[in-house]
Each structure stands twice: as C-alpha cells, then as structure tokens.
Point group: C2
Chain length 320, copies 2
C-alpha cells in the first residue's frame, strides 16, 4: 500500500501542514529565508505530522490546535537532522546536499537553534502545557540519547539493548510524542493517549530498524546516500550487531568500521546482507509493528484504526 492512500483521511490537512512549513520560511531576513526554504522544502514522508493529525481524529478534532503542533513536530525532526549532519559531517541527506556542506557548519548550527525556538513558539500557540512539556522533554531525550551513542561509536561490544535504547531516544521518542500530542489536543481519554503514544513509540522503533536495514540493502538513488554509510562512519546498527553476535570470529566487518575505502565497505556490506541477518532484522521490525497495532485496540473508529494499521505495515515494507 502506498502512503497516499494511507494518508487519505488526513490528506487535506496534511497539505495544510505543508503550507504551514513553507510559511515558516516566510521571514524578513534574506539569509534566514534562504536557509529555511532550502530545508523545509524536502521530499520527506511527513510521517510524524501525519501521526499527530491521525491521533487527533479519534476524539475532538481541532485543526487550529493540531496544525501548529504537527508543524512543530516536523520542524523538531528537521532541527535534529540539521544538527546531526553537522555532527556527522554528512554531505548528503534525502538526495540533497546538506545545509552544512552548502552554507557551512555555522549556519547549520544556528538554523537548527532557530528551528528549536520556532518549535517551542508553535507549540506555545496551543496554550497547552502538557504538549509544551512533551516537546521540551523530547528535545532532551533526543539530544542526550545521541550524546550517549556518540560515546559508543566504534565500540564493537554494543548489544541489541544498546541499539534499542539509542533508537528509542533518537526516533521512537518523537514518533511517540507526535501521536501523544495529537491525542492530548483532541481531549482524548487517558487510555487513548497512552495507546496512541505506545503506537507511535513502536512505529518509530520499526521505522528506525527498517531505516538501518535500508542503509545496507537500499538503492542509492532511492536512499539519497550511498549504502553502507553507517559502517563507514563507525556506527553499529542492528544488522551489524546481529552479524557480530552470530560470527564473533569474523574480522572483515570489524575491520571495516570507520573505513573510508569503498571496496572494504562493499565487502562487509555484502557479508552482512548475504547472511540471514537481514531477515532477522525484518522480523524484529515486524514485531514492533505488530505491537504498534495492538496498542490501537483501545481506540474507537475501526476505519481510522485500519489506516494506522496500514501505516504500520507500510513502515516495515517500504523500500525507501
């Protein structure tokens, strides 16, 4: 199933989020305008704002509150990407040259900060303290999680638990906040907020596991970056961790961590892909997706739920 049909019940309003993102770049200062325009106009899947809108639909849907928060969620995501690209010195993202490469680290750090401020400003428009607290906590969880992970780079003893803790912080926390915020703003009952938060969390876990599989298996054109880039940066993700669990004496992959030699990366990548490792990773992603769907059972409206179930399947089956 394609995202377009999954998004059907929220299509019009997601388009308004898109317009609202473009409006963020409508500022007086030419240099800021140029930078913001460059980063808000991307071909992103907009899953996070879609989650906010969907979650807002089960009870009292109020687009006036949901719109600024859905926009803020996407901007928070963007801000962390912009800062990550500085930190990782990344040249490409989603097939586009990164901001840090085009305008330098200075601009990228400052625009990221601006976006974090803009997020807080948009969230404050709801005048909902719970949602505002959710946002600030998510910023802390993402940045501190990333910080811990940087300390683990190149550490070949990383376990699956280290990995889960990391992706919970960097990805699932924001998916969860996106869903929870929508539910809170719709005045949903406590159990529904919890259920949608759990859905978002597990969806985020599945999403990230698949992202990390695609870094090994994906098509460069669709990924917008060369495959194996995690390996070359010394980052251990689930496929590598499972490979090293299974073949503790194999040195090819260990030696390749952080290597800039394309042939070495390609060799290690092929080794990991040929083993049953990838299937195991897909099974794990599938499990998270099943847990996501189970968390929805508390909710009314089977039609809406079926779209979120489709989204959970999409996240596992996607090729980019």
């Amino acid at each position: 199933m394609e995202l377009d049909s999954i998004y059907e019940p929220i299509r019009e309003d997601l388009q308004k989020v898109e317009e609202s993102l473009v409006a963020v770049a409508d500022v007086d200062m030419p240099i800021l305008k140029e930078l913001l325009n460059y980063i808000v106009k991307t071909s992103g899947k907009r899953i996070r704002p879609a989650l906010t809108l969907f979650s807002g639909k089960f009870y009292n849907y109020d687009l006036g509150l949901l719109l600024p928060v859905a926009t803020a969620i996407e901007l928070l995501h963007t801000a962390t990407l912009v800062h990550d690209d500085v930190v990782d010195n990344s040249p490409q993202r989603r097939g586009k040259v990164t901001l840090n490469k085009l305008w330098g680290d200075t601009s990228a750090v400052l625009v990221g900060d601006y976006l974090l401020g803009k997020c807080a400003e948009l969230t404050a428009r709801t005048e909902n303290i719970k949602v505002m607290k959710l946002f600030s906590n998510t910023v802390m969880v993402i940045s501190s999680g990333e910080l811990r992970q940087k300390g683990l780079s190149f550490d070949k003893k990383q376990s699956r638990d280290d990995y889960y803790r990391w992706i919970a912080a960097k990805t699932a926390s924001l998916f969860s906040a996106a869903a929870e915020a929508g539910a809170i703003l719709a005045n949903s009952p406590r159990e529904a907020i919890q259920g949608l938060g759990d859905y978002g969390y597990n969806l985020g876990m599945a999403f990230q596991v698949v992202d990390d599989i695609l870094d090994f298996m994906g098509d460069e054109a669709k990924l917008g970056k060369p495959p194996g880039s995690d390996l070359s940066q010394g980052v251990l993700t689930l496929p590598t961790i499972i490979f090293l669990e299974r073949y503790p004496d194999d040195d090819t992959v260990k030696k390749t961590l952080g290597s800039k030699i394309a042939e070495d990366i390609e060799l290690a990548r092929e080794k990991i892909c040929q083993a049953t490792v990838i299937q195991d990773c897909l099974d794990i992603a599938h499990n998270f997706s099943v847990q996501a769907c189970q968390a929805l059972e508390i909710l009314p409206d089977k039609f809406l739920r079926s779209h979120l179930v489709d989204l959970a399947h999409y996240v596992v089956q996607r090729k980019r």
Copy 2:
C-alpha cells in the same frame, strides 16, 4: 560598587539559582553529567538570573515560579555560548578551555540542544504561557541575529546601526526577556513589565558595548582570553566601527581583520585604543545605562530601584 553589594536584596535566592543550576547536571547518564557539570560550574556574573529575581520583587514575589525561570535564563545564555564556541571554533571562554575543544564539536552541539530543551522544560514548570512564548521568541531572535551577523563578518562597511541591531539580538534580547519574565511572574501591571523590559534591554546594550571595549582594553587574566580576539576573528565591534568612521584612509586596522599574526593584531589594537575611540564607546555605553535607569522611574520601591541603578553603573564601570 561591587556586584556582591548590588545583589544584596536577592543574595539568598541567587544562591538557590546556583544550586538549581548544579542540580541540572544531576542526571543519570555519566557523559551528560560530566559535560553539564563542566559548563554550569563557571565564574559567570549571573546578571541575567539576577535580573529575573530583581524584577520579580516589585510586586508579588513568588520564588517557586522565579527560580525555574531564572535558572532557565542562565541555561539559555549558556546554550548560546556553547554553540557560539563551536561556530567560532573558540579555544577559551571565561578562562576555561571550551567544551568543543575538550570534548569536540559533536558533544558541544548536542549539549547545547539538551540545554535548550531543559530551558523549555524549566519554563514550562511555571505554566505561564506568556513566559514560555517570551523564551521561544528569544531563542529565535538570538539565533537569527547571529546568523545575519555571520554574513557580515569581514564586511568593513558595517555601520553603527548594523552593530546595534546585532547586539540587540544577541545580548539585549535576553537581558530584556530575563527582566520581563520576572515582572510577568510577579503579576506586575503592564507598565511595570514594559519598564523592566526596557531596563533589561538598555542594560544589555550597555553590557555588550562594554564587553566589546574590554576585548580591546582588558587584561588577559581577567578576560579569560587574549585581547583583540574580535579583530583576529574578523568581527567588527563598536570600537573598530568608530575607528574606521574616523580614519577611513587608515589601512592598518582594515588589513588586520581576520589576521592570525599576533603583532598585526597588537598594532591595530593599539591604534584603536590610543584614539579617542574608546571614550566615545564608553559614552555610548553610559547613554544606554542612563536610558536603563530612566525606564525604572515607573516602578515603586525606591530601595530596590537604587540597586538596579547601581547595577546599570556597574555594567559600564566593570573591568571584566
């Protein structure tokens, strides 16, 4: 007059801000704890949180609300310094090696983000939407102002107005927000909030002009960095701008912008210091300080006001 006597009416509560800053570093994650401890324990003057406490004293003083916001104000300041040091690749700040030099840019970017999140979290504790909006706007003003300024580096045609606009964004906005937030949380009347905001703004302008004078005139031991460092980074501040206005045909200073040769910097620095330029800058700082004091006239409590007047004088007369 010394800061200690000026701070007398808020001494005990400012000590609580200090404890609250230390408590920010009390986190479970060892690496984050280490980084936070390093940056919150500084010998800063704590003028911004002091402003919040003073402003809160004119009407209904509520330390439970003021404490998290005063802490947040100092952390917001710290976050911008940490990111600035990454952007400027600065090796030293307040006599200490910078975080980016000790732990690398990655850690510095991420800790700055964490602090911005922590600010928002602390501010949200007040459940005061106005104060939360003030914060998010200030983050946007500071980062966008800094971004515009980076585009002007090495531009010898910068005017006094460019400079005022820059320091209004990078310094006066936070001084103003610090004072305004305190006044808002004390349920002060509208005119008092405005008056204290204006006081903060002008105090911040005076503070920054003096900071920029000290970069030329100050003692390396007291400054915690070598004098002339703005020149060597290609940054035009008020003394250089006034010097170039007055001696448009003098090439020594123009050629020195961005130079890493200590002798060149020293020569340019001496030229600027020997002229009447510094006195002009001091007069300008003094004018801002006078405007700050005038803004206080609307407030009751002459005793408290006299301390803020002393603070305005201190800011101009200080040697570090």
